[in-house]
Symmetry: C3
């Protein structure tokens, strides 16, 4: 871990205003952590107004704050920025710089003679790279990665341990993936005939844009006839499954253990929470949000926040729904009361 001083922070955050920092101009900051854990010579951050009191009693020598809470903390040394989380992320990165490639290739690898490896790219131990595959410059290919034929990995990518890339997978620049993820396996396509499930050859590819990050143990399948495509800037958590022929727009977020069935189309900036299941052939409009744990069977008509088990409910409707769940528990008693009333007023009770 690095140490940082004030002038480094000033260069890092040119948009920031530094308040009351004269007395700490020669401090070597040793880390950045939460208000409750921070000690002298550490930096902390005030994520929201509700933490102002914690900030007042916090031991950190320097606080990252937004302009609207400066007045409550004038006696503290402050870094005033429009977006606290973004500045915080930038400073953490200074303390913990990313590993940089050095162009080192393990001797325990098998590269096909036709494979091309860019300059300054690291190749870890027990990696294999197949025929006509191309790895860009400044990449880190970690130990145990297995890359098939005609795979392209863009410049500046980091491929985590034991990930596999089947033939023809195309990945853009600055791709990040963690461990044991699988790209370009066959889509799930069969025709039932003659008493068995006959395989439909899956001859499309996986094509991933730039600046995409994928977690551990994810799977993205190749298309059937056309490609499965992932746009730029998408971020997928662990155990995300993208089936064949999905078309995912730019800057889409998908949290852990969620999956898209075949031929789903996601507009730009869609956000899907964790443990969601999106049925095949659905379309989500740009900016649609699906709350975690939801299962979607029909395409939402509007760009909205949706939630629930195939409820087709927007978030405000869901909140009312949730209040009524306790009423469902006793619904049979209520229905009996309807029958009693009908009897009382002389309506003939019939089977409902």
């Amino acid at each position: 871990m690095n140490q940082l001083n004030l002038s480094t922070l000033q260069s890092l955050l040119p948009e920031a205003k530094f308040h009351n920092t004269e007395s700490i101009s020669s401090v070597s900051f040793t880390g950045l952590t939460s208000l409750s854990l921070a000690n002298t010579n550490e930096i902390s951050f005030v994520a929201a107004k509700t933490f102002v009191n914690d900030a007042k009693t916090c031991k950190a020598s320097l606080l990252i704050v937004s302009p609207d809470i400066v007045d409550s903390l004038t006696e503290k040394a402050l870094i005033i920025v429009p977006k606290v989380e973004l500045a915080t992320a930038k400073i953490i990165r200074q303390f913990f710089p990313e590993k940089q490639p050095s162009g080192k290739h393990s001797t325990h690898i098998v590269l096909d003679p036709s494979a091309k490896i860019g300059s300054n790219t690291d190749i870890g131990h027990f990696v294999t790279i197949g025929k006509d595959s191309v790895i860009g410059n400044d990449c880190i290919i970690e130990d145990g990665v297995k890359i098939g034929d005609r795979v392209h990995i863009g410049d500046g990518s980091r491929i985590g341990k034991n990930c596999v890339f089947f033939d023809d997978t195309i990945v853009g620049k600055r791709f990040i993936v963690f461990g044991n993820s699988s790209f370009g396996g066959d889509g799930f396509g069969f025709v039932y005939a003659e008493g068995k499930h006959n395989k439909v050859p899956q001859v499309g590819r996986v094509v991933i844009g730039d600046d995409v990050e994928v977690g551990s143990n994810c799977t993205i399948d190749r298309g059937a006839l056309t490609d499965t495509t992932i746009g730029n800037g998408c971020k997928f958590d662990n155990m995300v499954h993208i089936a064949h022929n999905c078309k995912v727009g730019d800057h889409v977020i998908i949290a852990g253990q969620s999956g898209l069935a075949g031929s789903v189309t996601l507009g730009n900036n869609v956000i899907i929470g964790g443990a969601c299941a999106i049925s095949d052939h659905l379309t989500l409009l740009e900016g649609t949000i699906i709350a975690g744990g939801s299962s979607l069977r029909t395409s939402p008509k509007t760009k909205d926040v949706y939630i629930g088990w195939d409820l087709g409910l927007t978030f405000p409707e869901f909140q009312k729904y949730r209040v009524n769940i306790k009423n469902i528990v006793n619904l049979n008693k209520w229905l009996k009361r309807i029958e009693n009333v009908e009897k009382k007023v002389g309506i003939e009770t019939k089977e409902s």
Copy 2:
């Protein structure tokens, strides 16, 4: 990718009728794709009647159709077959033939001296095969596969990169699996005693039939005392989990991210959609269908289509249920109306 001509197609599909194909008898077809993407010298297919108009304006030189839509397309060159998808799959396979093994063994492998490898089987780089394991003929074991002791893999199998097989796993012929799947790990069995969870040894095996295909990142656990068994012709998508002691029949389909808890029994030809959870010890009768996103806590009594969160609803019931979800959102208002009516007619309102 291969090119194909008419006589090759005629040999491939002896049951097909070729209509109006005289003028294209010398064409080299360059591919098969969808109606909207197909160009001259490409083949396309009409999956259903609703696509007849697209077919009329499509540029493809040859269309695969079913007998019932021939009359709408008489001016086109046609391949008339009873099952359009099956013929389409066969033709795609001709354009993109499967990789064939050539009997090549990487020199970067570790085979136990007692392991037996069949003839014409490829062994990729960084593969390990343990004691007394047997790999059949004509298999492709891709890079990074790790096979334990006493594992059997049947003839004609394709084992994808970085899959692992724990000891004693038995796999039939023509098995296909993609990347990072795990077979034969211990089932999840513990006895709580003396303040902790004590492991119950899992000494059964995984036994898989012929012609099974499994996706990427799946897990099939060994049985506790007896075996976990998978029948012939089953097809599992990515991230499918089969727990210990399950008995899966023949030709069962399980889509992505679905799981069977321990000791589930599935009859032949069961279909389970994606993201389903089947509770332990349930039995699904032959041909039962569970819609995607369902969670099943009780064994359905009939061979039917089931759906929903532990609703025990058949598909027609579910459709009515779904209509009523909007009524649940306002259920508390309706219950108030029942109370008002009771008051009006002189029924004493009591706590429901």
Copy 3:
């Protein structure tokens, strides 16, 4: 598989009473299996009173029983123990002893010179171990495992094939994990700003206690600023996902395909069934049980059994809820009946 005799069993189970075992004192027992499968010279067990009749007709030479059913089986040879499952587990382990390490290191490995490997620890083929990592004594590191820098693995651990450990992951003693699991990948943290999702560096670690067992294809992510922690004695099934900053207590059970979103806190002895989704920042009190297939969006207030799709229902409430699902299917008809009654008694029907 070993064979066992009576005196071995007596030493193994000092707390047991042996009844009517004189005639089998010289038998070599060949296995332990279920009542219906057991043969002469095999051992079986009576898991509950309901199996007493099966026990009477069973061929096993020796039965493990609890004291309350001895009277029904006096003519049989019995091992009488307070906890039948625990004794059964101990005897199975005698028949199938665990693999023991022998201190063998494959020559096909890459250990950083600074890595330390304990005594009597096996290192399988194609394993890599990074800078300053420490592997304890008496471990088995199976083929294909990839271990980063500054990772600690405690004494007596078994690391399954192709698992990956990213930098700084700390694992206690007697850890068990099966295939293709990933530890210490980055947590899923981004700040949306300037039109894209900006990565928040994840600089916490994964810290796992003693006696933890993890299945195949699981993922446990490193914390953002502080650590993700797993207590002692936890047992996780396959495809379990633990997100960044979770704090999991001791002896927690999580069944297959369940996941914890970020910053979830689980008390000791929590049990989470399969296919559950626990939303971020929730807290489950010690001993709370979440039934399989549940999705939790709010922290339960009590230590209880919870169930359902974000229903916030306890198990008894859920049972009433479930009865009422059939009423929801026809709810619109019931609401019409309310309107009819209102009309009849002269209440003006308004939009509900």
